[in-house]
Amino acid sequence: MSKNRVIGTLVALALLGAPLATANPFFHHLLIMVLFSTLLGVAWNLLGGYSGQVSFGHSAFLGVGAYATMLLHLKLGWSPWLGLVFGGALAMAVAVPIGLICFRLRGPYFSLATLAVAEIVRLVALNWESLTAGPQGLLITHLPELKLFGQAIDWETKIPFYYVIAVLTLLGMGVTFIVSQSRLGAYLLAVREDIDSAEAAGIDTVRTRVVALALSAALVGMAGGFYALYFRYIDPDAVFSVALSVEMVFIAVVGGIATTGGPIVGAIFLVTISEIFRERFQSGHLIFYGLFMMVIIRYLPEGIWGRLRFLLRLSTQRA
């Protein structure tokens, strides 16, 4: 327990100090994208990693969060940061009926159903023009002023955004850690290993999975709110895309499923490579996502972090 606390403190300190290392805005952008992807991976992992339910439709929650944040600000004048939290809650509320429907299906059938749900949500967002402005998208030109300790935060630089996403990511990792130590975590693992046995042991497998999906959706919804405020522009094809759903899966799997630290390793690895690739070439920056997915599934099914942790344990046992 104390070891975990030490690791947690170290990670938090590293996160706090990271942007001070350089004033290069590209580096700051890279850090933000790594943390954003980490948060997505962490959230997906909560359901996909622990309970083995491979969702290809998580962008639905991201889009709901992003649109909620944008619309509450543009139409009702809410503070976007309050909107971000509300976006998470709304994504959570949307996740419950989706879960109750899709969890009637198992394995790959569940995955296909989530894919269809996300596509339906995307098409609705694309065509409900009176609310979402359709393919035109929504734009925030100016973020309202926010004061911290009497000092106005400068949203034109990237550093405040970094701290927002760092807090959200830590929240996501904290939730994962708590779940993994709790009864819910044990139930989820039981569902993953053998759903029929879990059912026979008296676990309400639908409720268990719906709770995990709701937590996961809330985190993704807040990430969506962050996306909207960081880029200040969203449209249905950007936030509801299959590509985003798939990205979350890849980060969690490459990093190591069902681990607290896996997604951060996966995100550092994949996002850094793809962003550097994007700087050099016009297109095709997801090549490495595909390549690493294939290599990991074949040679390292426990993921990079999973393998590192295993090796570390071996070496400490020997010493």
Binding site: L112, V242, I287, R298
Partner: protein, 288 residues
């Protein structure tokens, strides 16, 4: 009346190509229990094959079928032998994730080499359309329809009449018993995946003169084909054909009588309903 006839005709034409792609997806699932997320990219490769042989070599896209169908068959065998074949033992979710990786890899390699530009093939007979009975039928799409039926029928006879075809069906029913009967299951897996890939590639070649082509076109097509195979029952060939025609009709009639904007949504809603209430497919032929 003419509107109905027109949308039924265009629905069936498009549906025949959905059916062809879906048959490829469904035989791979039937034999190996793989849901091939990279199937759409195989269609995309077929489209680009036809594009390049037309643009660089001046070969008519429908003639280039003779090159690209065997080439895609070989590519599929290669993928199965050296990549996918090593994963199958890991279970359905692993192959699902693995083919998702393959899909992203192929699509992004295509983006890198061919860029994301929209391209099209302008064949001389592309316009004007034929006008039988006052309805308008695009000539390339009509040729594609005839060839799709010919190829799908050919596959049907291959599976029902030849020894290899029987071995494929036996493996689909029960791989272990098939192996005990002396069938080389690994070889059958390769042939099946090759066939599935060849069908997808051929459908791509056939579609190339009628659609815009770009590297991520497969993403949309594969999702539609999941809808088709689930409608018809996963693993069932007649189901995939019927499902393909059905989706084509739903889309074209939906565009006229419901709304253009929501025509794709109808397909997905149908898909969810079938998954939930009739998981063996509308015709009850698939496996649950």
């Amino acid at each position: 009346m003419e509107t109905i006839l027109q949308s039924v005709v265009s629905g069936v034409l498009m549906g025949s190509l959905y059916a062809m792609i879906a048959v490829g997806l469904t035989i791979v699932f039937g034999v190996m229990r793989i849901i091939n997320m990279a199937h759409g990219e195989m269609v995309m490769l077929g489209m680009f094959g036809a594009f390049w042989s037309f643009t660089l070599g001046g070969i008519d896209p429908f003639v280039s079928l003779l090159i690209w169908m065997p080439a895609m068959f070989a590519f599929g065998m290669f993928v199965q032998r050296f990549l996918l074949g090593k994963i199958i033992a890991g279970g359905e979710l692993n192959t699902l994730l693995y083919t998702a990786g393959l899909s992203l890899l192929i699509a992004n390699l295509a983006l890198l080499f061919w860029t994301g530009d929209y391209r099209n093939i302008n064949v001389a007979y592309g316009s004007p359309p034929m006008r039988p009975f006052g309805i308008s039928v695009s000539v390339p799409l009509a040729i594609a329809f005839v060839l799709a039926i010919a190829i799908t029928t050919g596959l049907y006879f291959f599976l029902s009449r030849t020894d290899t075809g029987r071995a494929i069906r036996a493996t689909a029913q029960n791989p272990d018993s098939a192996a005990l009967m002396g069938i080389n299951v690994a070889r059958i897996d390769m042939i099946t995946f090759g066939l599935g890939t060849a069908l997808a590639g051929a459908a791509g070649v056939l579609l190339a003169p009628s659609l815009y082509l770009y590297p991520t076109v497969g993403e949309i097509l594969v999702v539609k084909c999941f809808v088709v195979v689930v409608l018809g029952g996963l693993g069932s060939i007649p189901g995939a054909i019927a499902g393909g025609i059905l989706l084509g009709l739903v889309e074209s009639l939906g565009a006229v009588y419901v709304s253009v904007a929501y025509k794709d949504t109808i397909g997905f809603v149908l898909f969810l309903l079938v998954l939930l209430f009739r998981p063996s497919g509308l015709f009850g032929a698939g496996r649950t």
